[in-house]
């Protein structure tokens, strides 16, 4: 049987749109409903400061998690890395180091932790769950140890500007997120590195035989992801003007949720930057609406979980539609 000799079946245009842009439609509908039913939702202040700022941490890390998921891995240590990087920057500042070197060192620490994760996973062949579960605890421990478990205030105005300045009417953290989206979007879709990441997730063995340096790609994926986690931690510390070892608990799960919600495959090989935008925005919008409506935190957990479950069920349904 040869494909060209088969009669192609007609796919309904509605179905095609749904397959390609299902979650975008969900996001748009969600936005419309929120606009109509929630007062203040559409105000510029809410969109930029509440909604916009609330998604930056998750969003920045999600740009890196996208690559890990695309390559068939994931990383649980990002929350710890973010907290540790925030603490490290705060400590270095308090010791009198300048803003640039403190930030640089904290980012480098993130990169290094990620490279270690990647090395253990790609070269030693330990699975990502165990490896990053271990580093998640180790790095959280480090975050506590460097200042005896105490949080530390940041007085430096230059550093605080990373979190609180508003160039061109948009806060710096949001700019950072947008910048990450552009860079990592281009990296995934328009570079060999990105295509190779997806190929590794699709079939590692085949990619290796085809000449893709699979280990190198895997290690850099984890290094870049941890780098972004550190960046998110620093931005968040600058916003709060405090380094806090207890912060960012559960960030890894929020990030993975957002990616999967947007349509990135947990088994690897499928993912795009649009998935990240949509996933992060859906999560942020729901959160924002619940805040505006004054839904209690306890119920917010319930609703967030239900939405994630609904999203993966929807995805499953979609796949069944195409394979049977």
């Amino acid at each position: 049987m040869t494909a060209s000799e088969k009669t192609p079946t007609v796919e309904s245009p509605l179905r095609a749109i749904w397959d390609r842009a299902g979650m975008i439609i969900v996001l748009v509908l969600l936005f419309i409903v929120a606009c109509v039913t929630v007062p203040n939702f559409m105000s510029g202040r809410n969109l930029i400061y509440s909604l916009g700022l609330s998604v930056t941490t998750t969003g920045i890390v999600a740009c890196g998690m996208l690559f890990a998921l695309a390559a068939g891995d994931f990383d649980l240590s990002v929350g710890s890395v973010a907290a540790f990087a925030g603490m490290l920057a705060a400590i270095l500042l308090s010791k009198g180091m300048g803003v640039v070197p403190s930030v640089f060192l904290a980012l480098f620490a993130g990169l290094l932790i990620g490279a270690i994760n990647g090395f253990v996973i790609a070269v030693c062949g330990i699975n990502a769950l165990i490896t990053t579960l271990a580093t998640m605890q180790i790095v959280r421990g480090l975050a506590y140890i460097i200042n005896d478990g105490n949080s530390i205030g940041i007085g430096d105005a230059g550093f605080a500007a990373l979190g609180n300045s508003v160039p061109l009417g948009i806060p710096t953290p949001l700019w950072t997120f947008i910048f990450c989206l552009v860079i990592f979007g281009l990296l995934l879709h328009r570079t060999v590195y990105g295509r190779n990441s997806l190929a590794i997730g699709g079939n590692r063995e085949a990619a290796h035989l085809a000449g893709v340096p699979t280990r190198k790609v895997q290690i850099t994926i984890f290094a870049l992801l941890s780098f972004l986690a550190a960046l998110a931690g620093i931005v968040s510390a600058a916003q709060q003007q405090i380094g806090d070892p207890k912060t960012m608990q559960g960030l890894e799960l929020r990030v993975i949720s957002a990616c999967v919600l947007g349509g990135v495959s947990l088994t690897g090989g499928i993912g795009s930057i649009a998935h990240v935008i949509v996933g992060v925005m859906i999560m942020g919008t729901v959160q924002n609406v619940m805040d505006l409506k004054g839904v209690s935190t306890f119920y917010q957990y319930l609703i967030s979980g239900a939405i994630l479950l609904a999203a993966v069920l929807l995805d499953r349904l979609k796949q069944r539609g195409t394979s049977r």
Partner: protein, 490 residues
């Protein structure tokens, strides 16, 4: 009462897998289902087993139209399909596997005694004397297959469909299987038998239906009256004689030289060379070290000692990337596992590992992939099609297209036409001959002697991890190849 396939239709997105297939399998007959890969046999079996639901048409058994929602319903209706990959849970015991889904119970607890006694009785029906408590993972494939048949009998199946049941059996095991199948036939059951092996079809089947491109071509109701040529003609839709067409071609200087190569799978250092434009075969039984030899040259396995020389550069150690840089391309044995990225597009697969600049230019990649697709006549609706949706032959051609992106000097082929239908096989052979004519040195591993005899200028024979001998095309015959490949008794 017969089993009737009445106008079965099934489509997948973008492909029509079955376009109204109708035929009848009589009771007490062994009915062969034949066709090239992708002709629709597997889809038909999956519809029979309830794994797929047909878009149109009906299955009629005993005059009753069968409609089931899932595989359980199919089993209840008396239909059992025994797949190539056996559907057993390796950790569970033989008895537990037999009664999986309808375990005998006493007051809600599993009744182990009855379970094992029943299992023993069922196993005796297929002539097996296995302890029912044995974990099934410890049994050889042939016995697991018998357990599958016993499982079907435990459901009192009226229809048993076998999907390439002999692909991993020894000839003695095949004989036993055939004896059991003849028994099933004598009991008046309907047996459907999917296989590519002509000798088996003529030995065991008394009727045959041929499918091509999802269409019913012909049903032969009395097999002894026709020849295998009739079947092949029906399967291919044209005469095939290109398969054994050996062609001479000019041969140049040495391109690949393997010297004292040692590594996993080799028991003696390997020494041989392949010249420019030459096609050299490696024949041997499974486990003779053929794939391992290719892997050492392609850099997917690490050599312990020795050299691989390509052109004028000599290497002690290679990895896939450096090997490709030297123009050594490998088409691996297991296409699904090592060849393709199934969920990616044809375009992505052809460009994988070939990209030179860091920035990707989607348009240029598509144009490039398109040119390879046309050059190698890969049949695909577009280069954006998921490669996993193509037939095996077209996947293989796409992988060849990928390897061609690397200024190819040495082509390593590992079972290049395994699981590929006859028509595509001839095309792949033609591509390989064409490459050799353009000066590529080709080293091809195959278990199919006719393939090697039709392609190769020289055939090396391996046995037990060492090279046993070498036959030029003029002297190579199937008998001589086998003689060298069989282990010598000492």
């Amino acid at each position: 009462m017969p089993l009737l396939f009445d106008g079965i239709e099934k489509s997948f997105p973008g492909v029509r897998a079955l376009g109204g297939v109708s035929f009848e399998a009589r009771e007490g007959s062994v009915h062969a289902l034949m066709g090239e890969n992708g002709a629709g046999k597997s889809t038909l079996l999956k519809i029979l087993s309830g794994a797929y639901r047909p878009d149109g048409g009906a299955l009629v058994l005993d005059g009753k139209s069968l409609s089931y929602r899932n595989t359980q319903d199919a089993l209840d209706a008396g239909i059992a399909v025994i797949y190539q990959e056996l559907q057993l849970v390796p950790q569970l015991s033989v008895a537990e596997n037999l009664f999986l889904g309808h375990m005998p119970t006493k007051l809600g607890w599993t009744d182990t005694k009855q379970l094992n006694a029943e299992a023993k009785r069922l196993l005796q029906l297929v002539g097996e004397d296995i302890r029912p408590e044995t974990p099934i993972g410890r049994l050889p494939i042939a016995q697991r297959q018998m357990v599958e048949i016993a499982k079907a009998l435990s459901r009192n199946a009226k229809v048993l469909a076998f999907d390439e049941p002999t692909s991993s059996l020894s000839s003695r095991e095949v004989d036993r299987l055939f004896a059991v199948i003849k028994n099933l036939q004598a009991e008046g059951r309907i047996v459907l038998y999917v296989s590519h092996r002509m000798d088996e079809i003529f030995e065991i089947c008394d009727a045959a239906t041929v499918l091509r491109d999802g269409q019913h071509v012909q049903t032969f109701n009395s097999l002894p009256e026709i020849t295998s040529d009739d079947l092949v003609r029906a399967m291919v839709g044209r005469e095939v004689d290109t398969l054994n067409a050996y062609r001479d071609r000019p041969i140049g200087d040495t391109m690949l030289r393997v010297q004292d190569l040692e590594g996993p799978g080799l028991t003696e250092p390997a020494n041989f060379e392949v010249k420019k434009g030459e096609i050299v075969g490696i024949f041997g039984l499974v486990g003779a070290g053929r794939t391992e030899t290719l892997n050492l040259i392609a850099g997917t396995a690490t050599a312990r000692a020795g050299h691989v020389t390509v052109g004028d550069r000599s290497f002690k150690r290679l990895n896939p990337k450096t090997a490709l840089k030297q123009g050594i391309g490998l088409c691996p044995e297991d296409r699904k596992k090592e060849g393709i990225v199934a969920i990616a597009s044809v375009c992505d697969n052809i460009n994988l590992g070939v990209r030179k600049s860091f920035i990707v230019h989607p348009k240029a990649e598509r144009t490039y992939a398109q040119s390879r697709v046309e050059q190698l006549r890969v049949r695909t609706p577009s280069v954006e099609q998921k490669i996993g949706n193509l037939s095996g032959g077209n996947q293989q051609k796409a992988i060849l297209g990928r390897v061609l992106g690397h200024n190819l000097r040495v082509l390593l082929l590992d079972e290049p036409t395994r699981g590929i239908d006859i028509g595509a096989k001839a095309e792949v052979h033609e591509i390989v001959r064409g490459l050799a004519e353009n000066g590529v040195a080709v080293l091809v591993v195959s278990s199919e002697m006719p393939e090697l005899l039709g392609l190769c200028d020289r055939i090396l024979v391996m046995e037990g991890g060492r090279f046993r001998g070498e036959l030029p095309h003029s002297q190579a015959t199937q008998e001589k190849l086998l003689e060298l490949a069989l282990p010598t008794k000492s």
